[in-house]
């Protein structure tokens, strides 16, 4: 769902008119003889929803971990929120949000306790936390669940809550690693409406997904094959280029080129 302003933003980034919020230059990570991420370069604009696609084992998570300051690149450079991912990784971590299927909320804490915990970790001001928690739960329609243990919530709710917690400290960028895995079609759509709201607030969204209908919802997508960027463009342009109707068909054609046997 391209918004005109975002396309303009993307164009500006490509033309070098202002500094992007994420930029990677020849970013590479090797494990022994295995090159997981092979010299990738790209820029992401402020407020953009950037889809990062690829088969299992294509290197998505490794690339994302480097951008989040969790893993040092073997070579190449990266800047996130204006900070160098290698030399200023602590600054990077303070200015981003992160959510994955695996790393989520604390199951044995209540809903409000989870918000309190993560808000505290990210340094949200003590006075702000309680009123903003109520405000958030009201927006999500979760007021009645404030005191529920997270483990008692359905998966779709947990994921919506995990996303809201990951942007509670108003980060410049949020990284989402397969946020909607295993969620039914109705809950996935509700989740994406939250992503739009975040992007409208100016939060840049960097998201990986295996659902190709979700790839259509991104402003731009990047397709990773065997650790390399094979394509990076608006979904519309990719479909035109491959002369197909859906991102699924684009993906099937691109990913079949893979020679890596990670699966």
């Amino acid at each position: 769902m391209e918004k005109e302003t975002d396309i303009e933003n993307c164009k500006k980034v490509l033309l070098g008119e202002f500094e992007p919020v994420i930029s990677a230059k020849n970013l590479t990570k090797t494990f022994g003889h295995f090159t997981a991420v092979d010299s990738i370069s790209f820029d992401v604009a402020k407020g953009e929803i950037f889809g990062f696609l690829g088969a299992n084992g294509a290197g998505k998570t490794t690339a994302m971990r480097m951008l989040c300051g969790l893993l040092k690149p073997t070579s190449g450079k990266g800047k996130v929120a204006g900070y160098d991912i290698e030399k200023q990784s602590e600054q990077v971590k303070k200015n981003i949000g992160y959510m994955s299927q695996k790393f989520s909320l604390s199951e044995d804490l209540r809903v409000w306790e989870n918000i309190r915990l993560y808000a505290g970790i990210y340094g949200v001001h003590e006075r702000e936390i309680a009123p903003r928690t109520d405000e958030l739960l009201r927006q999500l329609g979760f007021e009645s669940e404030k005191n529920s243990l997270v483990k008692s919530l359905p998966l779709g709710w947990k994921q919506k809550l995990a996303f809201s917690v990951s942007i509670f400290h108003n980060p410049k960028i949020v990284f989402l690693d397969e946020p909607t895995g295993g969620v039914d079609p109705a809950a996935r759509r509700q989740f994406w409406e939250l992503i739009y709201q975040a992007a409208d607030r100016g939060i840049t969204v960097f998201v990986t997904t295996h659902y190709m209908d979700e790839a259509e919802y991104c402003n731009r997508v990047c397709i990773l094959v065997d650790g390399r960027i094979e394509a990076i463009d608006l979904p519309r342009n990719l479909k035109e280029q491959f002369n197909v109707k859906s991102m699924d068909e684009v993906f099937q054609q691109m990913a079949r080129k893979a020679t890596r046997k990670a699966d």
Partner: protein, 325 residues
């Protein structure tokens, strides 16, 4: 011949958070000749031999509970069910020896290697890898190069292939797959379904749950389940044919705003994103494509494209799953 059948099966959990009754109450009946007049709240549900049967529903609908009851891992509160002619309570040992179960969560031994895991499962069922190698060959050869690697160190796609191999090594007559492709990329998912078709041709009955609607349409029959009740059971084609709403797809230059604008229109029933367009059901029969197009242009939408479309299984699911305007 029915492979799975039961009567008035139910499992209830008292949900502490809402105080609501959340569980499943279903009745499965395998004998087509049995009288079906007194079905109560449940629905008749039978799985034929060699069928790929999809259980489709939102999170918390009761899919996993149903799988656990049928694989004898959970006792029903009431009712009976049979799998392959055996009662899930009385004959649980017999059922366990003839079904394969791949739970949604990876449940193999992380500290054993690929090959050791497979050997464990084969020996538990008094068989060997060699005896049924032909069944798992297509799947296992993808991971055989890594057979000395510990299972915990495998990638997601490899774990899934190992889990399926382990569930198949004793040549089960019924295979239970609980969301086998969650987190798996689109290419591997296609390969996985090719494998299921092969297993079906070997006469293995497959009960599978999935959140992917494109996979639902690959099943012979699907049951849409919600809040522990079956909403409908039919072939994917018939479910689509039964969709009786007018369905349009709408596109404009501002898709995010379009969602809200469409929802504000009284003639629109439900509206949701669907890939690069939004789908809407039309509740006002007088509404025409031209009048809706004019309405949207007044709201500053450009490049508006509206077309009448045929429903997919996903549209049928959305119709059932999301609240109306």
């Amino acid at each position: 011949m029915s492979v799975i059948e039961s009567k008035n099966l139910s499992k209830n959990y008292f949900s502490a958070k809402s105080g609501k009754f959340a569980g499943i109450g279903l009745r499965l009946s395998g004998d087509p000749k049995s009288p079906s007049g007194d079905l109560g709240d449940g629905l008749c549900f039978e799985v034929d031999k060699g069928e790929i049967y999809g259980i489709i529903g939102p999170d918390g609908a009761g899919k996993t509970t149903l799988f656990r009851i049928l694989t004898t891992l959970l006792l029903p509160d009431s009712g009976t069910a049979t799998v392959d002619g055996f009662d899930v309570v009385k004959d649980f040992k017999k059922i366990r020896s003839r079904v394969g179960y791949m739970p949604g969560r990876f449940s193999l031994y992380q500290d054993l290697t690929v090959e050791e895991n497979l050997k464990v499962f084969a020996s538990i069922f008094n068989t060997t890898i060699e005896e049924n190698y032909h069944l798992i060959k297509d799947i296992y050869q993808h991971i055989e190069p890594f057979k000395t690697r510990r299972a915990g160190a495998l990638s997601g796609g490899m774990k899934q292939k190992l889990a399926l191999s382990c569930a198949l090594i004793h040549k089960p007559s019924v295979l239970f797959l609980d969301e086998p492709t969650t987190g798996v990329d689109p290419v591997s998912r296609k390969e996985f379904w090719e494998m299921l078709k092969k297993l079906k041709s070997e006469g293995i009955t497959i009960l599978v749950s999935t959140p992917y609607m494109d996979e639902a349409s690959l099943c012979d029959r699907i049951a849409l389940i919600q809040n522990g009740e079956f909403l409908t059971i039919d072939s994917p084609q018939n479910i689509v044919n039964k969709f009786n709403k007018i369905l349009w797809s709408v596109h404009s230059n501002n898709m995010s705003k379009l969602l809200n604008d469409l929802r504000s229109h009284a003639g629109v029933g439900v509206c949701y994103a669907f890939g690069d367009t939004h789908h809407i059901t039309v509740v006002d029969e007088k509404l025409t494509i031209n009048t809706l197009s004019d309405f949207l242009q007044e709201k500053d939408h450009k490049d508006v494209v509206i077309s009448k479309i045929e429903a997919t299984v996903e549209d049928c699911f959305m119709e059932l799953a999301i609240p109306k305007n």
